[in-house]
């Protein structure tokens, strides 16, 4: 049985800011969905609502047929959905391996034994190519490595659906190619579903089978990558009205 997480007609208000207006999106296990939109369009907010970090002002989050909005974040992790932080938040005083071990111990795998969890952590580190830094303190890692650690921790929770917030940001073209190759490999290996938030267009377009575009909290387009890049609304949102007119 595969699981699906869906945000249904979600609204989110922060004081005077309406960060999300009537957004619906769904991701199934095994499926990679891209979520793009300009700065401040509400991408991280949507992920936070789906991960139980924020409660929606209106609307629902449904996981595997059951409503989960209002559940605390750790309960959602328990049910197989894990989110990474846009700005990595590793446990700085712990080693890379210990960071991942926490996820293995408390995620949906429910490994109770610390030894077995460390074993799992090492497997995950191998998979994502961080085994060389297993014993390094997280505080000593570069931003890029910390992003990869975020990814590794989310995987190690045993999540069947990952909510990934800009894990490809800030990479050089070469690093990006390498990161995409790694992501695809790991995704095929494990078979998780992923909702991938990204600014980097090429990254989203290569890895996603379905893309959703939001602007100012509203969903303005959805479809396959090639449909989305030709959508006038999207061109306008990204390049301005002039370019949109020129393109059509």
């Amino acid at each position: 049985m595969t699981i699906t997480i869906a945000a249904v007609e979600v609204h989110k208000r922060f004081g005077g800011v309406l960060a999300l207006r009537d957004v619906s999106i769904s991701v199934a296990e095994g499926q990679v969905v891209g979520l793009i939109g300009p700065n401040g369009s509400g991408k991280s907010t949507l992920l936070n609502v789906m991960a139980g970090v924020e409660r929606p002002t209106a609307g629902r989050v449904v996981l595997d047929g059951k409503r989960v909005d209002g559940l605390p974040a750790h309960r959602i992790v328990e049910r197989g959905v894990a989110k990474t932080h846009q700005i990595p938040r590793p446990f700085l005083g712990m080693t890379t391996e210990d960071n991942v071990t926490v996820a293995a111990l408390y995620g949906s795998w429910k490994v109770r034994d610390a030894g077995a969890a460390r074993e799992q952590a090492r497997k995950v580190l191998n998979l994502i190519g961080l085994d060389g830094q297993a014993d390094a303190l997280a505080a000593s890692l570069t931003v890029q490595t910390r992003k990869r650690l975020e990814f590794g921790r989310a995987i190690a929770t045993g999540a069947r659906i990952l909510l990934l917030d800009e894990i490809f940001a800030g990479l050089s073209p070469d690093e990006l190619r390498e990161a995409i190759r790694l992501f695809t490999h790991v995704q095929e290996e494990i078979g998780f579903g992923a909702l991938v938030v990204e600014h980097v267009m090429p990254a989203v377009l290569t890895i996603s089978e379905h893309v959703v575009v939001i602007e100012e909290g509203r969903k303005i387009a959805a479809g396959t990558p090639s449909e989305v890049v030709r959508d006038p609304n999207v061109i306008e949102a990204y390049l301005g009205t002039e370019a949109a007119r020129a393109a059509t």
């Binding site: 938040r89 996820a103 408390y106 109770r112």
Partner: protein, 314 residues
């Protein structure tokens, strides 16, 4: 796990166990004067381990921790004075009241972070003292005076048992699954939750231990004084002393609370006969020094500057 491996894997635990065994065997031959000093030192250590459970392991600084000592003391005085319970049963009552109170206070106060948590616990300590002042059954603010015998050896072994359990529990919660969860919470609580850690439950779990042992220690303290009085029982200086011991010894470590207890007890006891209150100057300087220069306390400093100790002390 076989014995030899356990011994090698947990040298600090076995060192502490050895220290306690030596004390236990030596007990009957310890001169009474030294024995009373040791009882107080172990009492300080017990309070330090109690504080370590919450402040050391989660980073939640409990300024009102004396509330558990004070209510534990009054619980002891009440059941021993009014119902004629054996003082040892009174210790259990003190521990139970500390536990229940910690569960109650913790389930509300642990929702606040940082200074707000500290203030919330401080307020409960002040409130508890004022409530107890007006309860007729608890001496109407005059305290409860009992006339129990001078039994240093019983007190010694009682605090010995309490401390032994605390050391064992501290080892247990700093290792294995719970240890990982606590370190994650202390480092970044929201990130911990995002990996599935039930932070609220884990914090309440260690806070409950913290309250239980502070209640037991508070009860033993008034047994040695044969009476309970509101001002000393709820003296906020106890909270500060507990924090000082954990900061000096090393927050969240296994050996630190004992070392911190020695570092605080020595000046405390010395100035008791010379200039009461002056100990706070010494303790204050020590705390400031450690907080600024070696935030990991004595244990952290030893691990940092003495490489051979790195794999041994924790």
């Amino acid at each position: 796990m076989n014995f030899g491996r356990l011994l090698r894997s947990a040298p600090t635990l076995w060192g502490l166990a050895g220290f306690l065994v030596v004390l236990a065997v030596w007990g009957p031959w310890i001169p009474t004067f030294v024995l009373t000093l040791l009882i107080n030192l172990l009492l300080f250590a017990s309070l330090a381990y109690s504080m370590n459970f919450i402040a050391g392991l989660t980073g939640y600084v409990s300024f009102g921790h004396v509330v558990f000592m004070g209510t534990g003391a009054y619980a002891w005085g009440y059941v021993v004075g009014t119902f004629g319970w054996h003082p040892l049963a009174g210790i259990v009552a003190g521990a139970a009241v500390g536990l229940v109170l910690a569960l109650g206070i913790g389930s509300v106060a642990l929702r606040f972070r940082g200074v707000y948590f500290a203030i919330a616990t401080l307020v409960t300590a002040l409130a508890a003292r004022n409530i107890i002042l007006v309860i007729p059954a608890l001496g109407d603010g005059q305290g409860i005076i009992l006339n129990l015998g001078f039994e240093p050896l019983t007190w010694f072994y009682t605090i010995w048992v309490i401390l032994g359990i605390q050391v064992g529990l501290t080892y247990w919660v700093t290792h294995g699954r719970i240890g990982y969860g606590l370190r994650a919470i202390k480092s970044d609580e929201d990130a911990a939750k995002a990996l599935g850690v039930d932070a609220a439950r884990l914090k309440l779990f260690v806070f409950a231990f913290s309250g239980l042992f502070a209640g037991a220690a508070g009860a033993l303290n008034v047994w040695t004084l044969s009476g309970v009085f509101p001002e000393p029982a709820f003296d906020l200086l106890f909270s500060l002393q507990m924090l000082a011991m954990v900061i000096i010894g090393g927050m969240g470590t296994l050996l630190g609370p004992l070392l911190g207890a020695v570092a605080v007890y020595l000046p405390h006891n010395y100035f008791l006969t010379v200039a009461v209150g002056a100990e706070f100057i010494v303790i204050g300087i020590l705390v400031t020094f450690f907080a600024l220069v070696v935030p990991q306390g004595i244990v952290g400093a030893l691990r940092r500057y003495v490489p051979t100790l790195r794999g041994i002390i924790e």
